[in-house]
Amino acid sequence: MTMLAKPIEPAAPLPLSMVTSGQTVELVEIRSGHRLRRRLAELGLHVGTPMRVVQGTLRGPVILAVKDDCRLALGRGITQRIIVMPTASDKA
C-alpha cells in the first residue's frame, strides 16, 4: 500500500475508476451516450448522487454504495466515463 496524501486543497474531479476503496464521492458527470446515462439514472445514478466506493480496483471495475441504499457493480468500460468529486467522508 502506498501512502495516501491527505487532500488539503479542494479536491479535483476525477474518473470513478481512479477512486480508492472507502472514499465518498458525488457524481458530477457521465460521459456516455444517452442510453447508458438513462439506464444508470434508472438504477439510481444521476448527477449529484452521493456514493461510497466499497471496492475500487484502480483502473478497473468498481463496487459502489449508492446513497447508502444499494450496491452496484460497474465494469471498467463505464467507470472511466463517470466523473466524480471526492467529498469529505464523515467516517474514515
Binding site: H46, I63, L72, A73
Partner: protein
C-alpha cells in the same frame, strides 16, 4: 367493474421480494410456465377476493418502463397491452428512492397502482422509518400496504386494498419545467389526434417516453406502422430542448423525476443514524478484492467442478447399474411373458431404447450436483460478484464478465453449461458463450483420451490428456476472437452494470425449486431427442444394406445400413489418418454421446462373441441390489464431499493429502479389454490416434448438446454450431496428421 376475469399484476425491481409475496398471495394455485416464445419464466396464479375470481401474474423484475432486456420488454408490453385491473408495485423500503422511480412511471402510465411496501424490517435496521400514510398522501392517495414478511395479515390487507381499489386511476403529474412541458403538451395533442394511438397508449406517458428517446418503444411504434411523423416530431422536439437547455431531454426527464421523488421522500422517511458499512460490504472487501478476488473465484469454481464431477459419480454408477441390470432384466422377463422373447422388438427396447435413454439419464446426478452448486452460489449472492471479478479478463476477449461461469461448467458437462448461459442478460452474449462451451472438454470425452493414451503412449498418457484440454481452451479462445472481432465486429460489449444483492443464507425452497425445474426440463427435452436418435441408430444397425430384409436384426455388422453409411464417410476422414469405416462408425455413434464411442469400438473391433450373457436373478435379488447399490452410492457421495477438502488443499504446492476411503479400496474401472487394445494398435498409427482424439475433442459433443442449443436458441443456431464444430474438428485433425507426417512423426 367487469365481472369477467379480473387481472392483477405484481411489478417491481429485481430482488425486492416480489416472488415471495406472489407465493404468499397465490399459495398452491400457481402455475409456472414460459412467456410465449421466450425462455423467460411466467408465473401465474388464481385467487379469490370476496367471491370474485382474480387472475394474478408475476411480471419479470424491471427497473423502468424503458425496456432493455427481454424481461423488461415483457413487463412493459403486458402493462400496455393487457391493461391489468390492478398493478401491485412491490417496493424495497430500504432502497425507496430508486424503487419509486418505477412507481412514478407506473403512475404516469395511469394504471391503477397499489404500493406494496416490502422489506421494511431491513429499512428499520438501517435506521430508515417510513410513514405509509404520509407516503400514500404524497402519492395522491395511492394505497400503501406494508407487506414485509412476517407482517400480520399482509395478504388479507393486500387483497382488501385490491378489492377497494378505485377503478378510475389518479394520474400523477410530474412537473418537468416549462421548456419540456410545452413540448410534452404539443406531442400529447398529436397523440390524442390519432384515435388508434390514444386508445392503445396513455398520451402524456407516450409523449414523455418519446422525448426520452425510448428506442425499444420507438421500434414497437414503427412496427405498428404509420407513426413516423410522430416519431420525427418527438425527435425534433428533443433537439429543440437540447438547444435551449444545453441538456439532453432524457437527462432532464430523469432529473425531474428524481426531484419529484425527493420531494415525496422528504417528510415521509426519517433517516436515523445509519451504519454505512454493512456485513456484505466487509465480505466484499475480501471476496472482490483486486488481488484476492480472482484466486477466491477460481477456488470456488474448482470446488464446484469437484462437486459436479466427483460427488455425483457414485449415483451415476448407481443409475447405470439400474439400467443395465434390473431394468434390462425386467424388460426381458416381461417380454418373455408376452411371448416376444428374442424378437427384434426385444432388441429395439433393450439395445435401442433402454441403452440410449439410459445413457442420457445417467447424467441426471451430474446435473443435480451442478445445479445444486449453482443455485447455492446464485442464491447466496456470490454469482453477481463473480461477474465483477472476471470482468477485466473477459472484456479483453470481447466477452461479458458473466460468460466465464458457463465455460467452467463446460468442463463438467456441456449441456448444463449451455443452460447456464441464461444468467447472461444480453442475447448476443448468450449465443457467443453457448457457442464456445462445447470446446471445454467435458467429462464424457475423458475416457476416450485415457484409452488412446494408454494404448499408444503408455505412461505418457497424461501428456495427451493435458494436451487435449489445452487444445480445447485454445480453440475456444480463437473462436471467441473470431466471433467478437470479426462476425460481431464493432459490437459494443454491453457494459457491466449489475446490482449486488446483500449476501444471505440460501433459501432451501428457492434452491430446491431451481433444481427441480432445471433437471426436469433436461429429462423431458434431451430425453426426447435421445430416444429418437437411439431408435434410428438401432434400425440403422439392424437393417441390411444389401440382401433381403429377412436378415433384419440378424445382419452382419459390416453389411448394415450403418456400416454402409460409415463407409461413405470414411474417405472424408482419410486425410486425418483414420479413414476406416470402423473409426468413422465410432464417430457417428459418438454424435449421440461420447460415452458410446468406446462401446461402439468394442462392438465393431472385438465383435459380439464377448457379449455378456444375462445372468439370471430373481426379482428379490434385484431389489436387494438396488437397495444396497443406493446405500453404497449415498456413502460414497459423502466420501466425495469430504474428499473435496484434501483435494483442494493439495492445490497448495508441496502438500499431498490422501483421499478418504469409506468403503475400502475402490477397484480401477476397466476401460477396455485387451483384445480392443490390440485391435486399436493395428488399426491406428500413434499419429492417427492423436488426430482421432483431437477430432473427439472438437466435434459435436452429443445430441443432448444439440438439443439444448435448439431449445435455447433455435434450430438455426444449433446447426451453425454443429457445422462449425465438425469443420474445426476435421481441419485441426487433418493439420495434426498431415503436419505430423511432414515432420516424420508417428510413422514408426
Amino acid at each position: 367493474m367487469p365481472t369477467q376475469s379480473y387481472r392483477i399484476v405484481l411489478a417491481g425491481n429485481p430482488n425486492v421480494g416480489k416472488s415471495t409475496l406472489f407465493n404468499a398471495l397465490t399459495g398452491a394455485s400457481q402455475h409456472v410456465g414460459n412467456w410465449p416464445g421466450k425462455t423467460v419464466e411466467k408465473k401465474e396464479g388464481r385467487i379469490d377476493i370476496q367471491g370474485r375470481e382474480c387472475f394474478v401474474v408475476d411480471l419479470p423484475g424491471t427497473y423502468s418502463l424503458t425496456a432493455y432486456s427481454i424481461e423488461e420488454i415483457i413487463s412493459r408490453d403486458y402493462l400496455i397491452d393487457e391493461k391489468p385491473n390492478a398493478v401491485v408495485a412491490v417496493v424495497d423500503a430500504s432502497n425507496l428512492e430508486r424503487n419509486l422511480y418505477l412507481v412514478v412511471q407506473l403512475l404516469e402510465l395511469e394504471v391503477p397502482v397499489i404500493l406494496a411496501l416490502n422489506m421494511t424490517d431491513i429499512a428499520t435496521k438501517r435506521g430508515l422509518n417510513i410513514d405509509p400514510a404520509a407516503l400514500s398522501a404524497r402519492l395522491g392517495g395511492v394505497p400503501v400496504i406494508e407487506t414485509t414478511h412476517g407482517q400480520l395479515n399482509r395478504v388479507e390487507q393486500l387483497k382488501d386494498a385490491i378489492n377497494r381499489l378505485d377503478s378510475a386511476p389518479r394520474p400523477l403529474r410530474v412537473d418537468y419545467g416549462s421548456t419540456l412541458e410545452t413540448e410534452i403538451a404539443a406531442l400529447t395533442q398529436r397523440i390524442i389526434a390519432s384515435p388508434d394511438l390514444a386508445a392503445r397508449y396513455t398520451p402524456r406517458w407516450l409523449a414523455v417516453q418519446l422525448l426520452e428517446d425510448d428506442d425499444n418503444l420507438i421500434e414497437r411504434l414503427r412496427a405498428e406502422g404509420g407513426h413516423d411523423h410522430l416519431i420525427d416530431a418527438a425527435a425534433s422536439a428533443a433537439a429543440r430542448i437540447e438547444a435551449t437547455t444545453e441538456e439532453e431531454a432524457a437527462t432532464l426527464i430523469a432529473d425531474h423525476r428524481y426531484q419529484f421523488i425527493a420531494s415525496i421522500v422528504r417528510g415521509t422517511v426519517i433517516r436515523g443514524t445509519s451504519t454505512s458499512e454493512t456485513f456484505s460490504d466487509r465480505v466484499d472487501q475480501i471476496v472482490t478484492h483486486r488481488t484476492w478476488g480472482v484466486p477466491i473465484f477460481l477456488l470456488l469454481m474448482w470446488i464446484v467442478f469437484q462437486f459436479t464431477a466427483n460427488v455425483s459419480a457414485p449415483f451415476v454408477e448407481f443409475t447405470e447399474m439400474l439400467f443395465e441390470g434390473p431394468l434390462t432384466r425386467w424388460t426381458v422377463a416381461l417380454l418373455g411373458v408376452v411371448g416376444l422373447s428374442e424378437t427384434w422388438f426385444e432388441s429395439l427396447l433393450v439395445d435401442g431404447v433402454i441403452a440410449g435413454v439410459g445413457g442420457v439419464l445417467v447424467f441426471v446426478p451430474v446435473l443435480f450436483a451442478l445445479y445444486l452448486a449453482l443455485a447455492l452460489l446464485e442464491d447466496s449472492g456470490y454469482m453477481a460478484r463473480s461477474a465483477f471479478v472476471m470482468d477485466r479478463f473477459m472484456t479483453a476477449l470481447g466477452l461479458h464478465g458473466k460468460s466465464f461461469l458457463p465455460m467452467m461448467v463446460g468442463f463438467g458437462c456441456t449441456v448444463p453449461a449451455i443452460y447456464a448461459t441464461r444468467t447472461l442478460d444480453n442475447e448476443t452474449d448468450r449465443k457467443i458463450t453457448a457457442f464456445l462451451t462445447p470446446f471445454m472438454s467435458c467429462g464424457a470425452r475423458l475416457p476416450v483420451y485415457v484409452l488412446f493414451g494408454t494404448v499408444f503412449f503408455g505412461s505418457n498418457s497424461g501428456t495427451l490428456i493435458f494436451a487435449m484440454y489445452v487444445t480445447g481452451i485454445v480453440v475456444a479462445l480463437l473462436t471467441s476472437l473470431l466471433l467478437t472481432k470479426v462476425i460481431y465486429r464493432g459490437r459494443i460489449v454491453p457494459p457491466l452494470v449489475i446490482e449486488l444483492p446483500p449476501y444471505r443464507l440460501p433459501a432451501l425452497r428457492t434452491v430446491s425449486r431451481d433444481i427441480r425445474r432445471r433437471v426436469g426440463s433436461f429429462v423431458t427435452n434431451a430425453g426426447t431427442v435421445i430416444l429418437a436418435a437411439s431408435v434410428v441408430l438401432w434400425f440403422m444397425l439392424s437393417v441390411p444394406a444389401s440382401g433381403s430384409l429377412s436378415q433384419f436384426n440378424d445382419v452382419e455388422l459390416d453389411n448394415s445400413v450403418f456400416s454402409a453409411l460409415s463407409k461413405g464417410i470414411a474417405p472424408v476422414l482419410s486425410p486425418a489418418g483414420f479413414g476406416t469405416w470402423e473409426a468413422s462408425g465410432a464417430l457417428v455413434t459418438g454424435l449421440i454421446a461420447k460415452e458410446v464411442v468406446i462401446a461402439t469400438m468394442n462392438q465393431i473391433y472385438v465383435g459380439e462373441d464377448e457379449e455378456e450373457t444375462l445372468e439370471s436373478s430373481t426379482f428379490v435379488d434385484d431389489l436387494g441390489e438396488i437397495v444396497t447399490g443406493f446405500g453404497e452410492a449415498l456413502i460414497l457421495t459423502g466420501q466425495e464431499i469430504v474428499n473435496i477438502v484434501p483435494r483442494t488443499l493439495n492445490l497448495i504446492p508441496g502438500l499431498s493429502l490422501p483421499d478418504v476411503q469409506f468403503l475400502g479400496g475402490g477397484e480401477e474401472e476397466e476401460l477396455a479389454s485387451n483384445s480392443l487394445e490390440q485391435a486399436l494398435r493395428s488399426a491406428f498409427t500413434p499419429l492417427a490416434a492423436v488426430a482421432f482424439t483431437v477430432f473427439i475433442l472438437l466435434y459435436v459433443p452429443c445430441m443432448a448438446t444439440v438439443g439444448a442449443m435448439r431449445q435455447e436458441f433455435g434450430w438455426r443456431w444449433a446447426l451453425y454450431q454443429s457445422g462449425y464444430m465438425l469443420l474445426v474438428a476435421w481441419l485441426v485433425a487433418v493439420i495434426v496428421y498431415q503436419g505430423g507426417q511432414l515432420l516424420g512423426w508417428g510413422v514408426a
